[in-house]
């Protein structure tokens, strides 16, 4: 007679199952969720140990750390999802400092009723992005909140990286005469998101440009690290926000040319449709770099040789301007400023 009974471990119903409050309670149900969905997708030695934390070898050099929150809606969009976006975005924050990203953490706040199939899709997507980038997700956390208290799922991340010796990029380092470079077309991500928003649905074949940029930045630093002043990935608020922030931090102005800024024709058309300016639309796989003018050509060459920088371009220069304006020569020939964004860029009907 078998007196030792072990409970039959039912598999999660990935097809029709939903997250419920027990999955956040710290008990068996949560352990199963974490293991079957997150560990399964991220799979690495740290997670297999099942600790609440990860023990990591402290790398030599200066540590760089970042944290980010992801609340994108819709969760799944052309070219990505909240999962891959969170991995790419966190890596990019580290990469913009010139640092090599080493480890990520991911914390999930999940709404009661969220479909397990979608959670699995998101986790798999994160796992793939993490592996492709070579940056493991070493620790995480899961919470479940009542229905209506979170929009499906929110993801919060942290990332750490290592800065090579001697490199010190910063927003206050731009100087008059410096060159302004971008790694590719502006506005792709924001348009891809908007094309799926309720009440704005329009058909367009634009994919989000969500991508990890640390390979690109590493190749740029290897060739001309000393000539780089600052790098920034123009996310919310677009290129305009990035330029205005740096103008204020460095107490300079910018002179740029609209014709030099790469914008895909469909992105331009979608912005035309909605009355938006591509300069204010978010990017998730592009960077802006400010460098000493004599290194611009070399850097452009290195960027264009990389798959994520094929359309890299020189768009203008830093100028002296105590009013910190970003002045732009328009395609048409006249001048205007590219000002800070006022509030959220709501699609203009007028």
């Amino acid at each position: 007679m078998n007196l030792v009974m072990k409970p039959v471990r039912r598999k999660l119903d990935m097809r029709n199952g939903r997250v419920d409050l027990s999955h956040g309670s710290g008990g068996r149900a949560m352990a199963q969720l974490v293991s079957d969905i997150f560990h399964e997708a991220f799979d690495n030695d740290w997670l297999r140990r099942n600790d609440d934390q990860a023990s990591l070898d402290a790398p030599a050099g200066r540590l760089v750390m970042t944290t980010d929150g992801y609340v994108v809606s819709p969760l799944f969009f052309p070219g990505g999802d909240i999962g891959s976006l969170s991995v790419h975005g966190t890596i990019n924050d580290i990469a913009m400092a010139g640092a090599t990203p080493k480890y990520l953490s991911a914390s999930f706040i999940i709404e009661e009723g969220f479909a397990l199939a979608e959670l699995q899709r998101i986790a798999q997507s994160m796992g793939e992005a993490s592996r492709a980038a070579g940056v493991p997700i070493v620790t995480g956390d899961t919470k479940v909140v009542e229905r209506g208290k979170a929009d499906g799922v929110f993801i919060s991340t942290a990332g750490v990286g290592v800065l090579p010796d001697g490199l010190s990029l910063s927003s206050d380092k731009a100087r008059p005469g410096d060159a302004v470079l971008v790694s590719g077309s502006m506005g792709d991500h924001g348009v891809a998101i908007m094309s799926r928003r309720e009440n704005l649905e329009f058909g367009v074949e634009i994919l989000s440009d969500s991508a990890a940029l640390h390979g690109l930045t590493a190749s740029m630093i290897a060739v001309a690290g000393g000539a780089l002043r600052v790098m920034r990935d123009p996310t919310r608020g677009g290129l305009a926000a990035a330029l205005n922030e740096i103008a204020h931090q460095s107490n300079v102005g910018f002179a740029i040319a609209e014709d030099m800024i790469p914008v895909k024709p469909q992105v331009a058309a979608a912005c035309e449709f909605l009355g938006l300016d591509p300069l204010y639309v978010a990017n998730e796989g592009k960077l802006m770099a400010i460098c000493a003018p004599e290194s611009a050509e070399t850097l452009l060459g290195v960027m264009r040789a990389h798959p994520l920088g094929r359309d890299a371009a020189l768009i203008g220069h830093v100028v002296e301007d105590e009013r910190n304006f970003v002045e732009m020569t328009t395609h048409f020939g006249g001048g205007r400023i590219v000002d800070w964004l006022s509030g959220e860029q709501l699609p203009r009907i007028c």
Binding site: F202, G203, V204, P265, Q266, A269, E272, F273, I349
Partner: protein, 76 residues
């Protein structure tokens, strides 16, 4: 409130609607305000409605006039 864009009709739909394309962006809009719309026509679209057709000949005439005016004076 004048933001209106020129777009090409690519498909006629039911209920006085049509699919338009503008630079690769497509949307379904209402054509009830314009008569005799055909696939291939260009229309001016405002807040989801076509307001008028774009006359291709007149458009070309305008461009010709612009080119003539631009050529009149050599920029110094």
């Amino acid at each position: 409130m004048c933001l209106a864009i020129p777009a090409q009709v690519t498909e006629l739909l039911d209920d006085n609607m049509a699919r338009i394309d503008m630079g690769g962006v497509s949307k379904a809009i209402c054509i009830a305000l314009v008569e005799d719309v055909e696939v291939g026509d260009f229309v001016v679209v405002h807040v989801g409605y076509a307001l008028s057709k774009i006359d291709a000949e007149e458009a070309e005439r305008t461009l010709t006039l612009l080119r003539e005016v631009a050529a009149m004076e050599t920029p110094s």
